[in-house]
């Protein structure tokens, strides 16, 4: 069975690396030691060199990218510069951030068997079944990889990396691409591999809530060097260092930071937070947030009437995505469609654009049945900003993409209108670049600009904060708020409930193609049973508030600290965006 190789230490000494063709080095003299059996999180801002550092563990750096390299890396007793990627890969399993592109075989079995067969292991069948069983994936063997859900794909990528039974496992940003429930599942498996099978686990992560709960220690990478490696509690108390690298400390920690005024270490997990705040909870009176009012004016702008929608798969038969659902969305609402991956959020949005029409029932947009008009005509009112911004870049520069719609419809003074949108979203410096080559945060901004240029009255955003670090997330949230000023109705599909808490006036919870909760955020977040059913987790601050018996639970860190300070009314200046309504 799976055994621990005791010689699985990673030693990095004065590692410097510059990519071929780049002017500046990514790593500038890094030192790091990771002991066998550790569960380590590596954090750092975009471009800090954390992924490059991890790629030096299995030799992709410097064997695959032949850049300038100095210093020494030793992994499981092998000198990296002297060993081949093939040799090192038997000790280091690697799950890439874009795990979708890492799956190279049609079926799950072939994917997991890929590495053992490459190394000529005759027992590859047993290895595949053992690995799949270890990750509770038994039964998926014959499924096609493209028909799996995102969470399953990630676990299959993990299984493929584990199939050689490496002692070290590197996972790049598991929480960024997955919904929170799937991300937890991945972390639970990683914790099991670490505790039961003694594997060293290294994750690149920026969601500190996961780090606090699962990891032993944290490594901060800053401008190409490791600034520190600390045990998790001490690390997450270095608030300034974290913020300097665009890493959000956990919400509990942020609340404690505002509330505590002594030198005690700040709590980093929910349970630590509970112990600390129990005294505070008892003396806060119930106070309504005033956000429960729903102001619905006029006729619905989008209405789904008893719609059903399904699609065919090759080996799994017909799948119902939406099953007799009805929903009305009114002007000036900020609606969040919440639900885990596969709950039907994107399908609902596709139905509004007219690209898909329901199998049964009708969808009307501004009173028009989507079946009676072409998507091109609906596009004058509705804009759909896709989850994957790359699918929106159809020209070779951002500016051309923004102008495409206006040019095609022969609008007057196109240049001026494009300038205006580009300025509105601060894209002046990026406008001549190819959208595909921007960072994810910039891509989102550009895709939003493409949407706004059509001057729509309804804007649909699919997972706008997916796979973004803190800096880019805040940038996108600001952009959404600004976009809201120009557009009548904004609908966001997301599993990011922190975004929902701070932005929405109405949350619609979808599960398995059905609406299981619908109302203002404070009501929906109080409905824990529905959230659980939909595989959603309220933000940490809401869970903390609920555990402390605050009703309604505050939705943001600001609202929470505000509540804790109700004794002194003068501190009630920080208002949550929800209260600003």
């Amino acid at each position: 069975m799976m055994t621990t190789t005791h010689n699985s230490q990673i030693d990095v000494e004065q590692l410097q690396f510059r990519y071929p063709g780049a002017d500046e080095a990514v790593l500038t003299g890094t030192d790091l030691t990771i002991e066998p059996g550790e569960f380590v999180a590596i954090i750092g801002g975009n471009g800090s060199g954390k992924t490059t550092l991890c790629k030096s563990f299995n030799g992709i750096i410097p064997h695959f990218y032949e850049g300038d390299v100095q210093g020494q890396v030793t992994v499981a007793g092998h000198e990296v510069s002297e060993s081949s990627v093939a040799e090192l890969s038997q000790h280091v399993g690697y799950v890439f951030q874009e795990f979708d592109n890492q799956l190279v075989s049609p079926t799950v079995f072939e994917e997991v068997a890929f590495a053992p067969m490459n190394y000529g292991h005759e027992d590859y069948r047993e290895r595949v079944h053992r690995t799949l069983d270890l990750l509770d994936l038994g039964g998926l063997e014959d499924r096609f990889v493209w028909e799996l859900s995102g969470g399953q794909k990630h676990l299959v990528a993990l299984a493929a990396a584990l199939s050689l039974d490496p002692a070290i496992l590197v996972v790049d940003e598991p929480a960024a691409q997955l919904d929170p429930v799937n991300a937890r599942e991945t972390y639970d498996r990683l914790a099991m591999l670490n505790e039961t099978h003694g594997k060293t686990v290294v994750t690149i992560e920026h969601q500190t809530e996961f780090i606090a709960e699962y990891c032993d220690s944290v490594v901060l990478v800053e401008d190409g060097i490791v600034s520190w490696k600390l045990p998790v509690e001490a690390a997450l108390n270095r608030l300034e260092d974290l913020r300097g690298q665009d890493v959000h400390p956990p919400q509990v920690t942020r609340i404690a930071e505002c509330v505590l005024d002594d030198a005690r270490p700040l709590p980093v997990t929910l349970s630590d937070g509970l112990d600390l705040f129990t005294d505070y909870g008892s003396n806060t009176g119930a106070r309504t947030d005033g956000s429960s009012k729903v102001n619905r004016t006029g006729k619905p702008v989008i209405s789904f009437n008893n719609i059903s929608h399904s699609y065919d798969t090759l080996r799994s038969g017909t799948k119902d995505v939406i099953d007799t659902l009805s929903l009305n969305i009114y002007p000036d609402e900020r609606v969040v469609l919440a639900g885990s991956n596969g709950a039907g959020k994107s399908t609902l949005m596709q139905l509004v654009t007219g690209l898909e029409t329901p199998d049964e029932g009708t969808v009307t947009v501004g009173g028009t049945d989507t079946e009676d008009v072409l998507p091109e005509q609906l596009a004058e009112e509705v804009v759909y900003v896709k989850q994957n911004p790359e699918e929106m870049f159809i020209d070779d520069s951002v500016r051309a993409d923004v102008a495409h719609y206006l040019d095609d419809r022969d609008y007057p003074n196109v240049e001026q209108r494009v300038d205006e949108v580009i300025e509105f979203l601060d894209l002046e410096n990026l406008q001549s670049r190819d959208g595909r080559l921007l960072s994810v945060g910039q891509q989102r901004r550009a895709s939003l600009a493409i949407g706004l240029a059509t001057n729509p009255s309804i804007i649909l955003l699919d997972e706008p904060t997916g796979s973004l670090d803190l800096g880019s997330r805040e940038e996108v949230s600001r952009t959404i708020n600004r976009a809201g000023e120009r557009v009548e109705t904004v609908v966001i599909a997301t599993h990011d409930l922190e975004l929902a808490a701070s932005w929405a006036t109405r949350i619609v919870v979808l599960d398995d193609g059905d609406i299981i909760a619908d109302g203002p955020p404070s009501d929906v977040f109080a409905d824990l049973a529905s959230l659980k059913q939909a595989n959603l987790r309220p933000p940490q601050v809401v869970r903390l508030g609920t555990e402390l018996g605050l009703t309604p639970a505050p939705l943001t860190v600001e609202a929470f600290t505000d509540r804790l300070n109700t004794a002194s009314p003068s501190t009630e200046t920080a208002k949550s965006p929800v209260e600003e309504q």
Binding site: V85, E98, V104, G120, Y311, I394, D408
Partner: protein, 269 residues
């Protein structure tokens, strides 16, 4: 109108997509799928030559009937058959158009029918053989015939990417649609509408290629990290990959049987 609707449903992107995927993957129940890929490839090579040995129309029609039965047994995609029928008919039609200027079009078409028939026999046998082989068996077969693994892997990978490319392409065409203007009046038989869609479909290839190129970097790194290069020179790995292939009586029976059918056609007609 209902026939037109039915035709439109059958030729919708969604329908073609699942039809092609079914051809690529769902071949497990078909007769030819049970055969050894080496035997099938050899059979295919033989049938590339056989049609050229005959001039008699009856024999050629008999051969066409034989390979068509095999094609039906391998559940060939209707879309591909339709595409083939379309090219055969239009090719003959174009001969007729060209020969109007040089002489007697009917005679020219008649003279070219045997030639076209031979090409059709080869096309149908290609459809039958390659539809019945999944990516795995096809690359196994080629690998055992000495084709380098770099190439045979490309086949499996190509198959794996096929649905992803379909999806991506479809999404890009949709992105184009949402930002373009459809023609004001669709015209007779909606020809303007279809011409417009055709134009967008061509333009959507360009961004697709860029997106794929960008993504393949991760794929190559991931393959490297799981020993792909290692497998190229590893005897044990090659043996493992080819281990479950074996030639059984059914393979020999099929091959000999096919030759007997050809011999019978040649002898009796």
């Amino acid at each position: 109108m209902t026939t037109l609707d039915a035709l439109r449903d059958a030729t919708s992107v969604e329908a073609i997509k699942s039809d092609l995927l079914r051809t690529a993957y769902e071949n497990e129940g078909s007769f030819l799928h049970r055969l050894d890929p080496r035997v099938l490839l050899l059979w295919y090579v033989v049938f590339l030559f056989v049609p050229w040995l005959f001039y008699d129309m009856t024999v050629l029609l008999g051969l066409l009937a034989f390979v068509s039965v095999l094609a039906v047994l391998s559940r060939v995609s209707l879309f591909l058959v339709g595409l083939m029928a379309f090219t055969v008919v239009t090719t003959l039609g174009s001969y007729a158009v060209v020969t109007v200027f040089t002489g007697d079009p009917v005679a020219a078409v008649r003279a070219l029918i045997p030639y076209t028939l031979k090409l059709t026999i080869i096309s149908v046998s290609s459809l039958a053989v390659f539809s019945s082989m999944g990516p795995k068996t096809l690359s196994q077969g080629l690998r055992s015939l000495g084709i380098p693994r770099q190439f045979t892997f490309l086949i499996t990978y190509g198959y794996r990417m096929l649905p992803v490319l379909f999806e991506e392409y479809h999404d890009l065409v949709n992105s184009f649609r949402l930002r373009s203007t459809a023609p004001d009046s669709p015209g007779r038989f909606r020809w303007r509408h279809y011409a417009y869609l055709l134009k967008l479909s061509v333009r959507a290839f360009y961004p697709m290629i860029f997106n794929v190129a960008k993504r393949s970097r991760v794929t190559v790194e991931a393959m490297e990290a799981r020993g792909f290069s290692h497998s190229l020179n590893d005897e044990a790995s090659t043996e493992l990959r080819l281990a479950d292939m074996q030639i059984r009586p059914i393979d020999v029976g099929f091959f000999v049987g096919s030759l007997l059918v050809v011999a019978a056609l040649a002898f009796f007609f």
